[in-house]
């Protein structure tokens, strides 16, 4: 009964989406407010139906109703409650339902918080949202229905893939989808602007908070996924340049560019056409990511059961939306008026440079991810493009970007003073050079790249500090003047500083982890000790334990630093009986921002075990950086000028001039 109700609710949502696809457009054409307002109710009710459908699937999983194929395939009555819930989106059908659930959520948010949007703009935006929703409802109902019943219900389910039975599944996919799908709002705004043929600073002010929100979630989602891979897969890697990771990185790069170009559009009414294109591209890359993951075209472990019908359907959605929107852009873009001239050396110029490098870096990731697929389709040859390719292409493009980051916020709008900016950054530059020298001396002739990269990271971090110091006139005015200026600074200025500093911090973590990682892989007998720098790990023996749906073998290690015991670590192996699979649960011990990491290999008949033991210096900074970036995003979002949906249309721009711009 619940399954049928959930299915029916989804069909009703489709019907509403169809209405929302056309009625508001007709309303905008004949200028009928009643017809345009239809979109508001349909968006909200549509959300209610999808919410119901989503809750129905969750309750089926919680109740272990194995007469539903989706539950049978992915659940087990003994599975802990949290994994019964998260298992809902740990499979193809359920994750697509999560996708449309988030899409409907964003649609409803626009309907509720977009009260002061011009009526026709809101009608257009919601109509475009409904087009996307219609396509994905059809996809679910025709190819991936999660509510299908089995004729003869089995007594027990096949259990969820053990690797997914982890708290990471509760957070990572929803975060990532909030990011992916959040960019659909910027897309809808872009298409609406093209339909209306009108775009202005107010438009950018409406788009920015939505883009920022999606970007925050995507940033956290990617970081979360990376940390999950790091502790779950058992060999300490945190980024693999796997096509599925690239699929999330591409919208992030394009979205970051969009975030910056929207600033130029809002402040200076320049880069209009480019911003619209970026909004289209960012969501197109999100769709591409969905296609890559959901269609099973990849040789990646993310692949779901390969069902050509699904692949072809998503490919069609992809072609219609990306091809359609880009053709529409080519046709209509000329109707948007370009405005706001600026000199190459200016805040705008620096943001253009940012956009140029980000989109180019994104393009190299695109080539590296899709070239193997294209080659296989065209010639049948199978190749793999791995980390070396991306290190040779992505990194050289990202380094100049990092070098430019501290300059951007110090340049004035319209016409900037590069020499002046350089003078203000001189202290940061000197400290960065000193850092390079110190690191170089400390590592005694190791790689030359690592000290340089750390110096660059320090430069980026101090650049943010200098930016804030300049704004509050630190040391040039009395301290309490600086304090009151700091309090009065727009939150978006703090947001920029935090986000840029986060970038530098992540870079330090990446460089330290990949350069000075200590690895010890060995077969260890009882009381054997492995030495890692100043730490040692002694193998104290194995114990066994029965988990809810698995058998666990736990090894105990005593960790000592300079002979003093600092704690125990207990990595384990879990064997899941239903699927006949085992997983490796790594043990982690944090020492400041560094970590000791132990994961187990096979246990041998003679009582010895094989283990990988790592010391990973400053590894936590890799994820702390993105968290800081997301925090910067939240600060910007809370800026009173940028509250979601709240901006006043077409106000005289004196507030933009009175405050130091972000």
């Amino acid at each position: 009964m619940i399954a049928e109700a959930g299915h029916y609710a989804l069909v009703l949502a489709l019907a509403l989406a169809l209405i929302q696809s056309f009625v508001p457009l007709v309303g905008a054409r004949v200028n009928d407010p009643a017809l345009m307002n239809v979109s508001r109710s349909t968006a909200i009710v549509q959300f209610a139906f999808v919410l119901f459908s989503f809750l129905a699937l969750i309750s089926l999983h919680v109740m272990s109703d194995f007469s539903v194929a989706n539950v049978y395939e992915n659940s087990h009555s003994l599975k802990p409650l949290i994994y019964k819930i998260t298992g809902v989106w740990g499979n193809h059908e359920g994750s697509m339902l999560l996708w449309v659930f988030i899409l409907a959520l964003f649609g409803a948010l626009v309907a509720i918080f977009g009260v002061n949007l011009p009526l026709s703009l809101r009608a257009h935006v919601l109509a475009v949202q409904a087009w996307i929703a219609t396509a994905f409802y059809l996809f679910i109902l025709l190819t991936s229905n999660p509510f299908l019943r089995i004729a003869n219900p089995p007594l027990e389910g096949r259990d969820l893939n053990p690797i997914l039975q982890d708290p990471g599944l509760a957070v990572h996919p929803p975060m990532l989808y909030l990011g992916y799908v959040g960019f659909s709002i910027s897309f809808s705004f872009a298409i609406a602007a093209l339909i209306e043929g009108r775009i202005d600073a107010a438009w950018a002010r409406w788009v920015r908070p939505w883009t920022l929100m999606a970007w925050i979630f995507l940033t956290l989602g990617i970081a979360m996924g990376s940390y999950w891979a790091y502790y779950e897969l058992g060999w300490g890697g945190w980024w693999f340049w796997d096509p599925v990771e690239n699929a999330s990185l591409m919208p992030w790069l394009a979205g970051t560019a969009l975030l910056h170009s929207a600033v130029v559009m809002e402040k200076r009414e320049a880069l209009k056409i480019w911003t619209v294109l970026l909004a289209i591209l960012t969501f197109s890359l999100s769709l591409l990511g969905t296609f890559l993951v959901r269609s099973g075209v990849l040789t990646s472990v993310h692949t779901f059961a390969t069902d050509p019908k699904r692949g072809v359907f998503i490919l069609m959605i992809l072609c219609i939306f990306i091809g359609g929107s880009l053709s529409f852009y080519a046709w209509r873009a000329a109707s948007l008026k370009q405005g706001g001239l600026f000199a190459p050396i200016s805040r705008e110029g620096s943001l253009v440079l940012n956009n140029l490098l980000l989109t180019t870096a994104c393009a190299t990731v695109f080539v590296g991810t899709l070239y193997p697929l294209a080659l296989e389709v065209l010639t049948g040859a199978k190749i793999s493009v791995g980390a070396p390719f991306f290190n040779l292409t992505f990194a050289p493009l990202f380094l100049p970007l990092l070098l430019a980051v501290p300059f951007g916020p110090l340049l004035a709008w319209k016409r900037g003073d590069l020499v002046g900016a350089a003078q203000r950054l001189i202290a940061a530059g000197i400290v960065a050079l000193l850092t390079i020298a110190v690191v170089w001396a400390w590592e005694k002739g190791g790689s030359a790249l690592a000290p340089l990269a750390i110096g660059l990271a320090v430069f980026v971090i101090l650049g943010s500090v200098v930016d804030i110091a300049e704004r509050v006139k630190l040391f040039r005015a009395p301290l309490n003047t600086s304090w009151s200026r700091a309090k009065g600074l727009p939150r978006s200025a703090w947001g920029t500083a935090f986000a840029h500093a986060g970038l530098g911090i992540a870079l330090i973590g990446i460089v330290c982890e990949s350069t000075w990682n200590i690895e010890h892989i060995a077969t260890m007998r009882l009381n054997d000790t492995a030495q890692l720098g100043s730490y040692s790990a002694t193998f104290d023996g194995m114990t066994s334990r029965q988990g809810p749906n698995y058998q666990e073998h736990i090894a105990t290690f005593t960790i000592r630093q300079g002979g003093v015991t600092i704690g125990n670590m207990t990595p384990s192996k879990r064997s899941f009986t239903t699927r006949g699979m085992s997983t490796t649960e790594a043990a982690l011990m944090s020492r400041g921002a560094s970590q000791i990491y132990i994961s187990l290999g096979a246990a041998n008949p003679d009582g010895s075990i094989t283990a990988r033991i790592y010391y990973k210096p400053l590894v936590l900074l890799i994820w702390f950086g993105p968290v800081l970036m997301a925090f910067g995003g939240v600060l910007s979002l809370s800026d009173r000028r940028l509250r979601v949906g709240a901006p006043k249309p077409a106000r005289p721009k004196f507030d933009g001039l009175a405050q130091p711009a972000e």
């Binding site: 980024w239 599925v244 699927r579 990988r612």
Partner: protein, 149 residues
């Protein structure tokens, strides 16, 4: 500004082409190694099934096993911990190169991901060679981050 943009794009294109030449690995199966004339020392990916009964464990995590596609077998030598999902009779992809005596020295071993999923490249080749068993392709779900090694 347009000139600057073109310059960045040109640099990026050069980087991509250079990286394509030096850092791309081809995938092949044991039966095709002979006809493709792969020189010893060239890195590539070898895919197939682990031959049943071929796994030999040595000291210091050294292992040897054979990879087969039904037509030919290639001996593989590896030092390190095999992935959780590595089993005899099941799909595997190894990265590495051949030595002059025809032994494949693997730097990395990637196992198939659960009891029903097989690396797509391996599945395609097995289908082509007529060694596909229907139960290889049963529904499975995996949504994990990154590659299992």
């Amino acid at each position: 500004m347009i000139a600057g943009a073109l310059a960045v794009l040109a640099v990026a294109a050069a980087l991509v082409l250079n990286a394509m030449r030096s850092s791309i690995m081809f995938f092949t199966t044991p039966g095709k190694i002979a006809e493709q004339h792969i020189a010893p020392g060239t890195k590539f990916r070898l895919g197939g099934l682990v031959e049943k009964g071929s796994l030999v464990r040595g000291d210091q995590l050294k292992v040897r096993f054979e990879v087969t596609d039904g037509n030919a077998k290639v001996p593989v030598a590896y030092q390190g911990i095999l992935p959780d999902l590595f089993r005899e009779g099941q799909g595997v992809i190894s990265e590495g190169s051949l030595d002059t005596s025809g032994v494949f020295h693997a730097d990395t071993v990637l196992a198939k991901h659960d009891e029903t999923y097989m690396p797509k490249a391996v599945a395609d080749e097995l289908k082509k060679e007529g060694h596909w068993k229907d139960d290889y392709g049963k529904t499975s779900s995996a949504d994990t981050p990154g590659t299992v090694r």
